[in-house]
Symmetry: C2
């Protein structure tokens, strides 16, 4: 098995088999730069590019900016070319970097000295609803035990346009939103703090490659060529704002106050060994959604909570990216069915990924059944929704033979709502 | 009344009182540049800036790029400063440009040699529903004569996130979308061409100025400072795709195939003489939406159609921006209520603007009452929705004393759907 000259433990998320892409600030820099990651080091791609290491695999410089977009705009062949270069350069058998102390100094940045930044200049952000368990749970929750999926749900990957401006990376606090809420016992709506702040466990995927022109849909069989890679996504929701605002045009302020992603984008190449076929869909999708390779990835997705009185995070759910009904390639193809053009850097969310069991649900709304059954924490505390000071952690990883392909984590602490002239706590 | 040394007819949309902003390509250029407009000339702002004409009103160069965003990121004071400079420079009393043939040659581009481009690098695009007549008509249409507005409609400006990547300017063809449709006589949905392509008459407004930080709402009383200007917006809709996809998460592929805007952004300063108070709202909005100056603009908004067999466009509707219930400042404030950060260049749509009469409705869905009452054209043709080859024209203007402040127009021709392997006509 391939190894790096930098030791990486078998459970570490970023071995030489991973090679994710990100951006961040090195000591002494004022602007972010493009990097990869190996173990506890960021790998400086700008420096490597400047020294000519990618000259034979890239048509022109793509790592000189503060986002990955230039690199993402190339093709899978070139993404794979850079990945191969990095794996070779970081291999225990390659002396180039291993034995050159000066180069190591220039290229390898200890992760504790490195500040990750938003890796992609996001064009549009679209959120899907592609987990059947999640959709069914919401039907049961609000429609009763005899409810079923909406008639369109099994026919197309339902989606809505979401908000790109408020996407942040792990570590950014989640300011408790304020907004209009309609209380059951009052005739009028009120402006108050949201009392039902929830997380949503999702995967994000990012558009790259040669994108389609307006009017020209992407064929589902080729959609993979436009997926650069994946990250974890916590698609924060305010449940009380949502129920008042969302009919008939969908979620708005209940979603746009923040969405948080993990800072490292893991490529489809790193995930390839963990690809698994999904069950055949019933009913069979229309031809434009019917794909030869209907699959997802075996990525274990954990949700953890840490309240201020807890010493360590506590796992509240274990889901998996295999719990998708609609694949990410189907999502991408459907997005363009009527002609919508994608752009390099667009972000897509899968929607909350819930599994079949109580232990595999991807948000507190489901875990507490709309707040009816609070979850109990080791600290003796109970939670229906998140309270100020609570930290919510998402983490995701694939377990290989003697190695792990991981996504790191998305950690977010809920902080109190800001006072303003219309609201005093 | 102020006049320019360039003669501009009283009904012309772009007199010296207007001074809109745009971008486009001059003969010999390969990239768009920032311009203003007077009469039948584009006014080259990059050239004027390079010659130092804005040195005392701008902190640094802002007209060197291909979009207006740098200029939009300044403050109203600076926008007004540039407007004042231009009005002075173009005045019949100012010799600087008037009497300098070389400078005129460099700065004034005959509009027939100028190709307008998308003026703003749009961050996110949000669409509101702020015309009460439109919302009520849709309620009656689908819920019957005893229907009323949704309970939230009079309490908040309902909105949804829309798609920024597919915004185009006037002249861009509208490729008839394909997509999933559920026909009433079939059990399964089908993939076919949309048979109900509709226009929607809206106004767009663009975010500028010092924007808010994530978590920190914009006060409705100060929201005007973040509105750079307005354009016409045709927010194209596929009505048959919409009814199948939009429950419960809202419109997606039925809207994202294209939205078209007029290429000139008209400032609030130009519109100020046409500002009018809107009727008091009942119920009174919550304090965060309650504004001292609840107003809109008296902009006459015409919709015209020209089928291939018609010699001239035919007016099918005359609406007005005064037919808003929620003002654009209320829309902007509401957008940030839960903390969503705006970005310079964000585009907002008002939603379809319909008036109280059959003659003032802003889309074919209303004009034909969901296709039940086709409109009759002078050519003897009838239309329920748009057919391939039809041109739809929106135009908007304010009538002052001896002058007009106009928006130009948005012209779009519907072209046949593209063939693909999943669809053959």
């Amino acid at each position: 098995m391939a190894k790096s000259f930098i030791p990486v433990a078998s459970e570490h998320h970023f071995p030489i088999q991973n090679i994710p892409f990100g951006t961040g600030i090195k000591p002494g820099d004022s602007l972010p730069r493009c990097v990869s990651r190996l173990g506890d080091f960021a790998v400086d791609l700008k420096e490597l590019e400047n020294q000519g290491f990618f000259a034979d695999v890239l048509p022109h410089p793509v790592f000189q900016g503060s986002f990955l977009n230039d690199f993402m705009s190339l093709s899978r062949t070139q993404w794979v070319g850079v990945r191969g270069k990095l794996q070779h350069l970081l291999s225990e058998d390659t002396p180039t970097l291993r034995d050159n102390q000066e180069l190591r100094q220039a290229v390898l940045v200890p992760i504790e000295n490195f500040t990750s930044t938003l890796p992609v200049q996001i064009g549009d952000y679209t959120d899907f609803s592609s987990s059947k368990h999640h959709a069914l749970n919401l039907s049961f929750m609000f429609g009763g035990p005899n409810s079923s999926l909406r008639p369109n749900w099994l026919r197309l990957p339902v989606a809505y346009h979401s908000r790109a401006s408020s996407v942040r990376i792990s570590g950014h606090p989640v300011t408790r939103p304020k907004g209009q809420v309609k209380l059951p016992d009052k005739e009028d709506s009120v402006y108050q703090i949201s009392e039902k702040v929830d997380y949503e466990l999702e995967m994000a995927f990012f558009v790259g490659g040669k994108v389609n022109e307006l009017g020209d849909p992407i064929d589902v069989e080729r959609a993979r060529e436009n997926i650069f890679g994946l990250s974890l996504l916590n698609d924060w929701s305010s449940r009380d704002l949502k129920v008042w605002e969302y009919v008939p045009l969908g979620c708005f302020n209940s979603k746009n106050f923040i969405s948080t992603i993990s800072p490292w984008i893991v490529t489809l190449e790193a995930l390839e060994p963990f690809k698994q076929s999904l069950p055949a869909q019933d009913p069979q999708p229309l031809p434009y959604l019917n794909e030869t390779d209907h699959s997802s990835y075996n990525i274990r997705l954990d949700s953890l909570i840490k309240t201020p009185s807890m010493e360590a995070p506590h796992k509240i759910s274990e889901s998996n990216m295999l719990y998708l009904y609609w694949s990410i390639t189907q999502q991408l193809a459907h997005h363009t069915e009527s002609g919508c053009n994608l752009r390099v850097g667009d972000m897509m969310g899968t929607g909350t990924i819930s599994g079949p069991d109580q232990s595999s649900l991807g948000c507190l709304l489901e875990l507490t059944w709309a707040g009816k059954n609070p979850i109990e924490l080791p600290s003796g505390e109970k939670r229906t929704f998140l309270e100020d000071g609570d930290e919510l952690i998402l983490t995701g990883a694939c377990t290989g033979e003697g190695y792990t392909i991981g996504f790191g984590e998305v950690v977010s602490k809920v902080t109190p709502a800001l006072q303003d002239k219309y609201f005093h706590n």
